[in-house]
Symmetry: C2
Subunit: 364 residues, 2 copies
């Protein structure tokens, strides 16, 4: 959907015109009361389930969303929106700047999570959806869910922030910064102007993605999946090839990522996450932001997630409880690390299914 | 010290001639029974304490080693040796290949931790030191301490492996591989031949070092040291500069590292660590390797070290106990992560002091 109305951004600039690419699953009921907004994480997009038409692979949350799945598209109308700054159809740094007709590159304004949510709110208005039955997502998706609940409480019946934080920690900023430095160190990045020169910083973006993947898994998950097993060989090579399966896995993840993701989008979206700090944004403690909210919350974390650990998620739940909100918190036992929110996790599925059932019944 | 006798390597090649750079502190007693070998970690060197003459900065373990310190140079004769493959004087990939007169670069043979220890054993023989009162070190230094105790039990009275593992885990291989990929992706690396072309892959090596630094600290340490504090500014820049102190810290660590460390040495030494797996090397379970050993062990770990976690160190201690060895294990409460072994940690200091006191008294 193309918006002509300028989007006012936290950085003081505006974006106009801009496009938001979205996908929907299931049917909006006549009362327009069954809409669930599923917000994506750093590398996600609007294609929540089914087949992603851009990549030909399953949607990023197809374990969770679909007919008879925990987010049941027989019952609910699910909306996925590519964040502005992204690269799957929404306006981002790879899009042409109307003023110059050239790709924005680094002249694209830096967006915040709040900017993303304001843009999404405009899209939902255009779709005639005044209230969301639920807004949910993991990681950066959870940040958006929190931002929605903080910014538009009257439009959010329930919110389910998963494996996330109300502020990006120093460790996570550091990991993002490493990825950005890897991209910007790649000479094919060319100060961000690679598209103009028909080049692409694939090596840098691949290294950035590898850093991501190590942080998405737990030590135990890496040990179980790969351990010290060798890749297609019986002996060490005494060289710098892919001796170990875990090296081959990282190389594969890096190489498939650079085919589908824009390097500058990686810079912009990681930065949006780094900047996320709800208390600073609203100028008051977390509990005060949510004081008096009617939104019902389900917070979720995973025991082995060291990127968005239980402690960060518990901070959110505690603040919501202190604000007098109706909130439930669940830490799920899993050794799969941050990635757990994307995987088959029966306890996660059950919690989501039950929470949405209560939300739909007006109970929570 | 220059060795003409070829060093036979695990990879099947030999290294000849080769130099081992070393430094000593304190005095060897007439009985030659007070020597302690301090083995360095990935980025360390022979300059254990005092001022490092190559960098002008304090030795890497000057908190631990020196007069009246836990490893007391008034009592003990401390030896530090730069590992072969290193870049502080020992023969490594930056050294000239006698056959070509050009830097070895990637034609340098890949060394293992066992190769390092064999080379060290030759140096100690040349110094007339038949027995080590203790061999110690953290991280890769701890791997060497284990290798010493496994390979030359009769020459090691006591061993103190700290914050280490008997095999490098999948997670740690992955982190190393990211660093190597960052280096090799830098066009100034030039297939390893950068010295010939008077270039240096500083950007890649800097990214590799940043990955290291994040892994050396705990989340809590990063939070305490930096949190979300801004660097020399009051507001976010809405750009990709160093807004956050943690970003500035990483950039600083990267930039000082590239001044003192060789990029190819980084490749070789990380690979040696990745290859380390004592059980596979000896072809039997850990406990069997140490069966009947007379060496006394003190194993140490830190609660917040996620790179070489307590579980990996406890595996060592358990295997030693199963082997019938005299072993003590201590997990030290610290929120400083892997770096804790290099820092002021009173409980670490006390444990080291007491263990060495007992070792020197023949008690352990």
């Amino acid at each position: 959907m193309i918006f002509e109305e300028p989007l006012k951004l936290d950085c003081g600039r505006t974006l106009s015109p801009f496009t938001l690419a979205y996908a929907t699953y299931g049917r909006l009921n006549p009362a327009r009361s069954n809409a669930i907004l599923v917000c994506h994480a750093l590398s996600g997009d609007q294609f929540v389930t089914g087949t992603n038409p851009m990549t030909g692979r399953p949607g990023w949350w197809e374990t969770m969303v679909g007919p008879d799945k925990p987010i049941d598209t027989n019952r609910f109308f699910v909306i996925g929106i590519n964040v502005p700054g992204g690269c799957m159809g929404s306006t981002g740094p790879a899009s042409p700047d109307p003023a110059t007709k050239k790709p924005y590159a680094l002249s694209f304004p830096l967006l915040t999570v709040a900017d993303m949510v304001r843009a999404q709110a405009g899209l939902l208005e255009a779709l005639g959806i005044e209230k969301l039955l639920c807004v949910t997502g993991g990681s950066m998706g959870g940040m958006q869910a929190l931002e929605w609940a903080a910014r538009f409480p009257q439009r959010v019946v329930s919110a389910m922030p998963i494996a996330t934080a109300a502020r990006h920690t120093a460790q996570n900023i550091a990991l993002h910064e490493i990825g950005r430095q890897a991209i910007m160190a790649d000479p094919d990045w060319m100060g961000g102007e690679y598209l103009l020169h028909n080049r692409f910083p694939a090596r840098g973006l691949s290294v950035a993605r590898m850093v991501g993947h190590v942080s998405y898994l737990s030590e135990r998950a890496l040990e179980r999946k790969f351990g010290r097993r060798l890749q297609d060989r019986e002996k060490l090579s005494f060289g710098f090839g892919k001796d170990f399966q875990v090296e081959s896995y990282l190389a594969h993840q890096g190489s498939i990522f650079v085919e589908r993701f824009d390097a500058n989008s990686y810079l912009y979206i990681t930065r949006a996450m780094d900047y996320f700090d709800l208390a600073t944004e609203f100028g008051k403690p977390l509990a005060e932001i949510f004081r008096g909210t009617k939104t019902k919350f389900q917070c979720l974390s995973f025991t082995s997630d060291w990127l968005f650990p239980t402690a960060e998620n518990r901070l959110i739940a505690d603040a919501l409880a202190a604000a007098g909100a109706q909130v439930s918190f669940r830490e799920i036992e899993s050794d799969k690390g941050h990635d757990a929110f994307l995987l088959e996790e029966p306890e996660l599925f059950q919690t989501v299914r039950e929470f949405l059932g209560r939300a739909a019944a007006g109970l929570c």
